[in-house]
Each structure stands twice: as structure tokens, then as C-alpha cells.
């Protein structure tokens, strides 16, 4: 179990982590989501005692990281993949870490087998691909067979097979009642990996819920309705408790409504009852990624212009209710 309490980190006049409080429970994969620069890595570094918090505390199994005598036997961490001397072999990198914890060198071979790198372990890390380096990082995290794992963007730079491997590994480790805390800026990846989500933006907690809840809440259904009698239909929909927003009519086509609060079958029934002609009735599935973008909008640290992204009709969620 990891616990952050009123955790802040100030760099100069910039608050990178802004009074964060949350708990990461064992037995499930907890995703730590946020756009780039949201403070995810800093938060993890604070938890691991690498950076000193400006306010607040972070504890792991009830104790600050710095008070753990053989920390790698309690906590495994993957920060950046290349936190290794490129001239050293993977085996020697893991060996010196094992020696600091009093772990036998046999354990080094075990974790090398776990990540499938035994054959190349004596080669210098310099020649490794990013995916291989990432695996060495996972091996280092697993050295002490810890009950708590912190993984910062573990799927970065991995090929699809590697992503699947990490995803299954994390799920497996969580099923062993370990605490798995994994950061990502990819909502879709977290949707299939994490059981629980903690979302931050600009260092602040934005949302915390189970992934299931998050998905349901975020992807509120929108239905696109096209009808020559759109104005009448809009009134009828409003009377039924739905919300219809007139869309810009496309050239030569009937006026369109973007409807939330009513599902497509119900809208069809309303139209039939009132003898209104429909040209189109399309349920729109909002992507989770866009819900995430919308949720963290305004808290993006390095935002640029985003032309045309939201204008692709099939993917857009235009319902105002999906933001918090």
C-alpha cells in the first residue's frame, strides 16, 4: 500500500505536485494518468525518496521509503529505462543492486529469466534496444520480489508484444496481492491494464475512481440525428428529458442534432410516434482518450494548438456532461 498525504513539490515558483493525497491499494493495478508534465514522475520520485517533498509525506506500507533497510525487498521501481551505465552489462547492473540488499546472485539469474534476457545479460547495456532496457528495468524492480511496484511509463518504446507482456505481468503481479502503481499518459493503455485510476493534471488530483466507473462516466452516449424537421424533433426530445444541440447543417443535407440523455431507440420511437422523418440516427461512441483529453483540458502543461482533432465526427464526444 502506498499513501500520499498532502504531497507537494515546488521547483522555483512552479508547483510541480500540488497537495496530492491518495492511496494505492494492494491487489489491483492502479493507473496514474495525466498529460505530459502533469507531475506523475515527480510524484513517483517523491514516493521513492529521490526528491524531497516541499510539503506532505509519502509512505510505503506505512513507512517513508528512506526508512526501509533493504528497500528493494519491499519496493521495486522502474523510473526511466536508461538509469544504467551503458558500459556495464545488465547482469552486473543487477548484481550490484542485489549485493546492496544482501540478495544472492542466483536471484539475478531468476529475474533475468523472468524478463527473458538471460542470453544477452553479459552484453553491455549500450547495445540494448529501448525495449530491452525496459526489461532490465523491470528485472531490477523485481530483484527483491517486492510487494509494491512503481512503474513510470513502462510501455514507452515497447513493441506490441512487449506491451502485452508488461500488461499481463502487471495483472499477474496484482493478482498476487501486490500493490502495482503504474503511470501513463495513454488513456487507452490504462483502460485495458488498470483496475483503478488516479488522474492528475498540473500536479493536482483531477479524478480517482475504478476504471469501470471512469469509462462509464466518460463515455456518455451521444446520438447524431438528422431530420428535415429537426426543430420539432428537438422540442420533443427536450420534453422527454433529453438534450438536443443543433449542429451546423451539412450542404444539401437535413439539419442535424447532437442528442444526449436519450438513447437511439428511444429517439426513433419518438420520431415514429410523431411521424417525423429521420434521415440518420447514429449512436456516437466517445473515445476514452478524448474523455481524458477533455477532463485534463486546461491542465495541460505544454499544450499546443490542436487543429482539427475534435472535428472528426465519428470520434468526437460533444456532450458537455462528460467533463468534471
Amino acid at each position: 500500500m502506498i499513501e500520499a498525504q498532502d504531497l507537494s513539490k515546488r521547483y522555483g515558483d512552479k508547483l510541480a505536485v500540488d497537495h496530492l493525497s491518495f492511496k494505492v491499494e494492494p491487489g489491483r493495478v492502479t493507473g496514474f494518468l495525466g498529460p505530459n508534465g502533469a507531475g506523475k514522475s515527480t510524484t513517483m520520485r517523491l514516493m521513492l525518496g529521490l526528491d524531497r517533498p516541499s510539503t506532505g509525506t509519502a509512505t510505503i506500507n506505512g513507512r517513508p521509503y528512506a526508512q526501509l533497510a533493504q528497500p528493494l525487498r519491499t519496493v521495486g521501481a522502474l523510473l526511466e529505462a536508461k538509469a544504467m551505465h551503458p558500459g556495464r552489462s545488465a547482469r552486473n547492473h543487477l548484481l550490484f543492486l542485489a549485493q546492496t540488499q544482501g540478495l544472492p546472485s542466483r536471484r539475478v539469474d531468476e529475474v533475468l529469466d523472468l524478463v527473458g534476457l538471460r542470453a544477452v545479460a553479459r552484453q553491455r547495456v549500450r547495445g540494448y534496444s529501448l525495449g530491452m532496457s525496459q526489461r532490465v528495468g523491470i528485472a531490477a524492480a523485481m530483484l527483491g520480489n517486492p510487494s509494491v511496484l512503481l512503474l513510470d511509463e513502462p510501455v514507452n518504446g515497447l513493441d506490441p508484444e512487449g506491451i502485452l507482456w508488461i500488461r499481463n505481468l502487471m495483472k499477474h503481479l496484482a493478482s498476487e496481492q501486490r500493490t502495482i502503481f503504474v503511470s501513463s499518459h495513454l488513456m487507452n493503455e490504462m483502460a485495458v491494464t488498470a483496475d483503478h485510476l488516479i488522474v492528475i493534471g498540473k500536479g493536482k488530483l483531477i479524478a480517482e475512481s475504478s476504471t469501470q466507473e471512469f469509462i462509464e462516466r466518460s463515455s456518455e452516449k451521444t446520438v447524431l440525428v438528422r431530420s428535415p424537421d429537426a426543430a420539432t424533433l428537438a422540442d420533443l426530445i427536450a420534453a422527454e428529458g433529453g438534450k438536443a444541440i443543433a449542429q451546423d447543417p451539412a450542404q444539401g443535407r437535413a439539419a442535424a442534432l447532437s442528442v444526449t440523455g436519450l438513447e437511439a431507440p428511444r429517439i426513433g420511437e419518438i420520431a415514429a410516434t410523431n411521424r417525423i422523418v429521420l434521415h440518420e440516427l447514429t449512436p456516437q461512441l466517445g473515445s476514452l482518450e478524448e474523455a481524458f483529453i477533455e477532463m485534463t483540458a486546461g491542465s495541460v502543461e505544454y499544450g499546443g494548438d490542436t487543429p482539427a482533432v475534435a472535428q472528426e465526427p465519428a470520434a468526437s464526444v460533444t456532450s458537455p456532461g462528460s467533463s468534471q
Partner: protein, 297 residues
């Protein structure tokens, strides 16, 4: 895909014995022996030290035989031990400076320091263990090279006959002087052993600077600039306070132990000088540890 071999229950940590400081020492030894820069820097140190000792001693003796006399020629006659230990090791010491800096700054430049500090969150044992392991390595290599330099130089100079000419009462007098050096002469053993000790403390001095500056290029420039330029230049400071400042500078004081004969104007004894050098180094190491504890990694 690899399978995970752990049991499906609340996981127990991997079995380990209490590692403590012994484990940290072992880990630092693994680190230092597992990168090529260590091996290469030590090879450069050995080759430059022994090679230059041999070359310069031989060239200087040849120059004397051919009747040419410069400062080096006179110093090889007046203080051959100092000549032998000063030439090759004088340049070779820079390799030790580089290695001392590298063992710590390479961890910062590669990010390996974060792995190390995750394993040892109390932090200061990392520098202590690193310093001890590095000192042990340098003292072994340094003493071997110091003794080899001495024996090479001794073999070259011993028995060499120099004709010294002087004017006495209007007459030109020639005296034949045979150069002889031996470990049993006063101060010689101390100078040879002291050369290895000096290199060891110099390495730790460089390691401390590396820990303070954390950037390889900056730290190497700083250390070599101090050893080769700033400290020797301080000899130009005027008056007695200038002489005192110069005498107490780290490597100036530290090098006294590498000399078999004290000079007339020497303010500190050999061992006092070594003590001053050690004190500087301990102070800088303490500062490096203090900053390591304080700074974000």
C-alpha cells in the same frame, strides 16, 4: 513471453541476509570493475607513469653524458629519487584524477545514480563505500607503480658517473660523482611509499570534487586545473602569508611526502603536509556527502 514463477499468494520478499555496509562495499566493487573506463584509465596511469619515468631518466642521463647540463640534469644529480618519482608519476597522477572524478560523475551522467540511491536510500553509505573501494584500488595500483618507477629509475641512474666541475682558488677542479640511490637511504622509503599514499588521497580528492560538481567535464577541469595550475601558481603570492597559503594548499602539502629530502624553506614536514592534504579531502568528502543528502537526485 516469459512466465512468472512466483506463488499466487501475498508475496514474500526474496530471501536475503542482512547486507549492511559489507554489501555496499561489494556492490561498489562490482560497479568499479564492470566498466571499461576503470581498466583503461588505470592502464593509461601505469603506462604513462612507468614509460615517462624510464624515458625522461634515460634522456636526462644521456644529456649529462654528452656534456649538456640543464635544470633536470642538475636535479637528477642532487636529488635523483625526487627526479625518478616526480617525472612519470607527475603526469600519471592526472589519470588518477580522471578516474576519481569518473567513478562518481559517470553515475550522474548515465542516471545510474538513481538506481544506486533507490537501493541505498540513506545515501551517504554510497559515497563512503565508493571512496573506500576506490581508495583500496588506487593504493594497491599506486604503490605498485611507485615501487616499479623507483626500481626502474634506480636501475638507470645507479653507477652513472657525473663529472662535476667547479672553480676553487682560481683552479678548475673536476670531481667524479657516482649517482647512487637505494631504499635504505634516509627518506627514500618514505618517498616511495608516500607516492602511493599521495595518489590514493589525490584520487579521493578528485572523487569528492566529482561528487560536488556532478558533471564529468566540469569536475575533471576543476581538479586538473587545481593540481596543475592554480595550486602551483599560488607560489607566486607575495610575502610570508603567500608562502603559508601556498604551503597549505591540498596537493602542494600532499606532495611533500613524495620527496625524500626536505627543502630548506619547507613550512610543513612531510607527514604534516600529508595530514593537511587528508584534512582537505575529508572536508570535501563531507561537503559532497552533505550535498548528496540535501539535493534531489
Amino acid at each position: 513471453m516469459s512466465t512468472v514463477s512466483t506463488a499466487p499468494a501475498a508475496p514474500a520478499p526474496a530471501p536475503a541476509r542482512r547486507a549492511g555496509f559489507g554489501g555496499y562495499l561489494l556492490a561498489e566493487w562490482t560497479k568499479i570493475r564492470s566498466v571499461r573506463s576503470t581498466v583503461w584509465t588505470l592502464i593509461v596511469f601505469v603506462v604513462v607513469s612507468l614509460g615517462l619515468t624510464t624515458l625522461l631518466t634515460w634522456l636526462t642521463l644521456n644529456a649529462i653524458s654528452n656534456g649538456r647540463r640543464g635544470n633536470a640534469a642538475s636535479s637528477i644529480v642532487t636529488d635523483p629519487v625526487n627526479f625518478i618519482l616526480g617525472t612519470g608519476l607527475g603526469l600519471g597522477q592526472l589519470a588518477i584524477c580522471v578516474l576519481g572524478v569518473l567513478v562518481i560523475t559517470s553515475e550522474y551522467s548515465t542516471g545510474a545514480i538513481r538506481s544506486a540511491l533507490l537501493a541505498v536510500p540513506h545515501r551517504y553509505p554510497v559515497i563512503l563505500a565508493k571512496g573506500l573501494v576506490f581508495a583500496a584500488l588506487v593504493i594497491v595500483v599506486g604503490e605498485i607503480v611507485a615501487f616499479l618507477s623507483f626500481f626502474i629509475g634506480k636501475a638507470l641512474v645507479n653507477g652513472h658517473v657525473v663529472t662535476l666541475r667547479g672553480h676553487v682558488g682560481g683552479h678548475v677542479v673536476s670531481v667524479n660523482h657516482t649517482i647512487t640511490v637505494s631504499l635504505s637511504q634516509p627518506g627514500v622509503l618514505q618517498a616511495v611509499v608516500g607516492s602511493g599514499l599521495y595518489l590514493t588521497v589525490l584520487g579521493l580528492f578528485a572523487l569528492a570534487i566529482g561528487g560536488l560538481i556532478r558533471h564529468t567535464a566540469g569536475a575533471i577541469t576543476a581538479v586538473i586545473g587545481m593540481v596543475l595550475v592554480i595550486f602551483p601558481l599560488a607560489a607566486l603570492l607575495p610575502d610570508s602569508w603567500g608562502a603559508h597559503v601556498h604551503a597549505y594548499l591540498p596537493t602542494v602539502a600532499g606532495q611533500l611526502i613524495t620527496q625524500d629530502k626536505p627543502t630548506a624553506d619547507q613550512l610543513l614536514s612531510a607527514w604534516q603536509g600529508f595530514g593537511v592534504f587528508c584534512a582537505w579531502t575529508v572536508l570535501l568528502l563531507a561537503a559532497a556527502i552533505f550535498l548528496l543528502q540535501k539535493r534531489d537526485a
